[in-house]
Each structure stands twice: as structure tokens, then as C-alpha cells.
Symmetry: C2
Subunit: 279 residues, 2 copies
């Protein structure tokens, strides 16, 4: 199989590596509208060749969209306009608008809408890593609208990489992603901003920062180029979750204010049950 990966950043670059490492593609062609990124990806051996978009789509078997979510729907349509039996897939963090936009496309069957639940706080081709994705879940949306051979190929790739596959409707995906991914991003940014604000008066505020702070604020290093489109494309879910999260913070704040030990104990015991989920 020859694959073309469009977008050679953290996700696209790591996926290109996985395709080669697992023997899934003999040849991976890369496309990136930033020439420095394209050169870097080639230099790091993430892809075998870099081509302009037009020539990179011709004659390949699989086309992978790994670009920011605000750019996916339109490019998905433009590429579907040009494919015949090729398979097109995306790896974006929001799914509702994309699935809506391609729903009535004549070649809808050639597209597989996916979201692998993996990432780090770094970005660009330098951030791509070997062995990424393994052990994490991948969501496939509207599997029934993709042609059976396209689904089989894409699922085969994810299985080979070691990702359990979850089927979900796009609306359900975007709601759940807001709760267990997008919200963490916003709280991390806000936490970093809170402490950085304070640093203006208290220069040594970070001297005591330990492991707990690091783990809650780590995601604040993440690129806005990737995350602003996600937060805006999933706006209504993100706004809802943020409202609920602020509400929970206000409840805890009021309990602390009132020395409400029993209330805090009950809330923390409940929060502790997250142990069921993360080990």
C-alpha cells in the first residue's frame, strides 16, 4: 500500500511512522503546507517523499488527513471529489461538522471518519514519536456510511497499531470528547494563567511546584494552532462542560469558605471513585 499523509505534525508524523514500522505501507508520501515542516519530516524519516497536494493524491491507496479540525471538512470534500477507489480517512478531534459536510457526497463511502485518542502537549514534526497510539482507543464514526472495504482497511491499520476500536455517533463523540479531553485542555490553560498572573507580584511563585502541579498544568504547553479550532468546532459542548466545571469549583469553594468538612468529605469521596476509571 502507498499512503499519503496530509499534515506532518504530532499526529500525522507519528501515524506515518506507525504505517512504516508496522509494515502497513511500503511507501508514505507527505504533504504539508509549511515547507519547513515538510523538510523536517523528510529529514527525520517520517515520510519517504514530500509532494504537493495535487500529485500526492494521485494513484495512492490511502489518504490520511491529519490537519487542524477547522481545515478538515473542506479538504475532505475536495479530496473526495477526486478519488475513485482510494480510501480517505481523517484523525481529527471533532466529528460532527465533518460528518455533516460529507454526508451527501457521492463518494461518502470512500471516507472513514476516525479519532485516535492519543496526543501529547508537543506539536510539529519534531514531536512525532515511534510507538504512538498503541493501547489507546480509536473512535470510528458512522462506520455504516463507509464502504466495507474502506472500513476493513482502516480498522486493520488501527488493530495492527494496537488500538481498541469504539463505534460512536458523531454527536456522541463530540460530547464525550468535550468531557474527557477538551475540558482538561481548558482547565490546564486557565491554571497556568492563574499562576503566571501571580508571578507578576511573587517572582518565586514556582519554586515549590512539584509533581501534582506539573501533571495538572502539563497540557498548558499545547499549541493554540491545534486547540483553538477544536474548542471552537466543539463550542456548544465545551461551553456546557465548562459551565458545569465552574459550577463544581464554586461548590467546592463555598464548602471551603464555610468549613463544611462533611460536605467536602462527601464530595472528595465521590471524586475518589475516579479510581474505577484511571489506575
Amino acid at each position: 500500500m502507498i499512503a499519503t499523509v496530509i499534515g506532518l505534525g504530532l499526529i500525522g508524523g507519528s501515524f506515518a511512522l506507525a504505517l512504516k514500522d508496522k509494515g502497513l505501507a511500503e511507501r508514505v508520501i507527505g504533504v504539508d503546507n509549511n515547507p519547513a515542516n515538510a523538510a523536517k519530516a523528510l529529514e527525520r524519516g517520517l515520510v519517504d517523499e514530500v509532494l504537493p497536494l495535487d500529485s500526492a493524491v494521485e494513484g495512492v491507496d490511502l489518504i490520511v488527513l491529519a490537519i487542524p479540525v477547522n481545515a478538515i471538512p473542506l479538504l475532505a470534500v475536495k479530496i473526495l471529489n477526486r478519488v475513485d477507489r482510494q480510501i480517505v480517512m481523517d484523525m481529527g478531534s471533532t466529528k460532527e461538522e465533518l460528518c455533516e459536510v460529507i454526508a451527501q457526497h457521492n463518494k461518502r463511502g470512500r471516507f472513514v471518519a476516525t479519532h485516535p485518542m492519543w496526543g501529547t502537549e508537543y506539536s510539529g514534526p519534531e514531536a512525532a514519536v515511534r510507538g504512538a497510539f498503541a493501547g489507546r482507543s480509536v473512535v470510528i464514526c458512522q462506520r455504516e456510511l463507509s464502504d466495507p472495504d474502506a472500513v476493513a482497511t482502516v480498522e486493520g491499520i488501527y488493530e495492527r497499531i494496537g488500538m481498541p476500536i469504539i463505534e460512536m455517533e458523531p454527536e456522541e463523540h463530540d460530547l464525550h470528547a468535550a468531557y474527557v479531553s477538551h475540558i482538561s485542555q481548558v482547565t490546564s490553560y486557565a491554571l497556568a494563567l492563574t499562576v503566571l498572573e501571580k508571578e507578576r507580584e511573587e517572582a518565586k511563585i514556582f519554586a515549590l511546584a512539584g509533581g501534582g502541579f506539573e501533571s495538572t498544568v502539563r497540557l498548558a504547553k499545547s499549541s493554540g494552532d491545534m486547540w483553538i479550532p477544536i474548542l471552537l468546532k466543539n463550542k456548544y459542548n465545551v461551553l456546557d462542560v465548562l459551565r458545569e466545571h465552574i459550577h463544581q469549583l464554586q461548590i467546592m469553594r463555598r464548602m471551603i469558605e464555610r468549613d463544611d468538612v462533611e460536605g467536602l468529605r462527601a464530595a472528595i469521596l465521590k471524586a475518589n471513585s475516579i479510581r474505577r476509571i484511571i489506575h
Copy 2:
């Protein structure tokens, strides 16, 4: 040196191990008001012997308080009432009330107020680990009020364990700890509660939880027995930081609501500068 560690949980248990592993104490006596914890600590070899408080204080060289912060000030006074040349130290996460309570004690010089910036989300003697503390900072408050030999002994221990020492006033410590430790705890609890609330309608909400969610919510596994006293003893700082953090979340929420890409870009760029601090 013979040391007595009072409180054989995560912190006390790990410190007892370090005292033995580094050859700092020939013998470590343990005290815990929970007999099951005491037995477990003995069984795990965290301490050489378990004694009741009264006999554990007699004739030892160093007495370490590693109990919840609400219990430290009173026990510090009771123990200082009984020491002669012995050294007493605590390892608590808040320092202002403790330093105030012991300030005029006749034996104040025998006490060294410390806070090693290390912990995990687990608790109890089962959670104690070898090699804890190394590489993290430790705060010593009001060093000038401790006798030189007491400071030298305690600093010698922390240096041997591999902890850089920071001197700080108790008020400064509590303010900084609220920003870079206590707030992370509250946001983690609130984040867990937000998603657990949603799980009542959406049973599969956690199916997509990945590394980002895990790292921001990890601290929500932490014990209320340890954290409620910290949040309440450091109440006014924690309330201030929480108000500021909620304010930052509301600003980000409003920018998302208004599709304010430029505002989000500026905020996220600023948050990204946390890279200076955590690597």
C-alpha cells in the same frame, strides 16, 4: 541516631525508609494512632519497632511529625513540652498556624518547620515508596528561630536525600503552596466530579479518556483525610486562588462563546510560557 516517625502514611512511611536507606538512622521507631497502619508499616519494614507515643518520644534523637496538618500544631506543643536536647521536625503542607502556635514556646529552638514538596495521590503505609523526595525541593520556615544544631541536622538529612533547600517565611510558603499545589488538588477533584456527574446520563463517557484526562484528574484519587485539613488550614489563600482560577476559566469561556480567536491565541500563547517552568 534513633528517630521516631509519628504518622506512618505516604509521607512518614517514605521518610522512614529514606532515613534507613541513607544510613541516617540506625533505628526508626514508628507511631500511628491507627493500629492497622502501624502493623502494616512494621510488616513492610518501614520502621523497626512500633511504640505508643509516650515511650516513642523518650530518649530518641529526632522526632518527625508526619500527620495531617490539622493535628500538627497541638502535638508539636505537647512534644516540645517534653523534649530537652531532642530535635523535632514536621513535614506538613501548611506552615502559618504551626509557626504561630510554637512561636513563644520555651523550646522553640528545638523545632524545625519543614515541607518537602513531594507526594503522590495514594495514602497509607502501603503507599510509602523507596527513593521518594529525591530531586524535589524542601521548604524550611523560620530557620533563624531553630537552634543551629537542629537546623544543621535536619538540613543534613534533606541534603543526603537529595532535596534542594528553600528558606521561606510561613506566610509566603502558604501563599505559594496554594498556587502551585493546593489549587491543583481542587481543580482535579472538581474535574472528576464534573465528568462523574455526566456519567449518570452517559454511561460510556469515560470510554475516550486518554492521557491528558488522566494527568489532569489523577490527583482526584487523593485522600480527603489528608487534603481537607490542608484546604481548611490554608483557607484564605485557597479561596483567593480559586476565585482567580474561576475568573480565568470564565474569561476563556467567554472567548470561546464569542469565537474570539485573537483573544484565545493571546491567552494560550501566554499559558504556553509555562514551558519555562515545567519541562
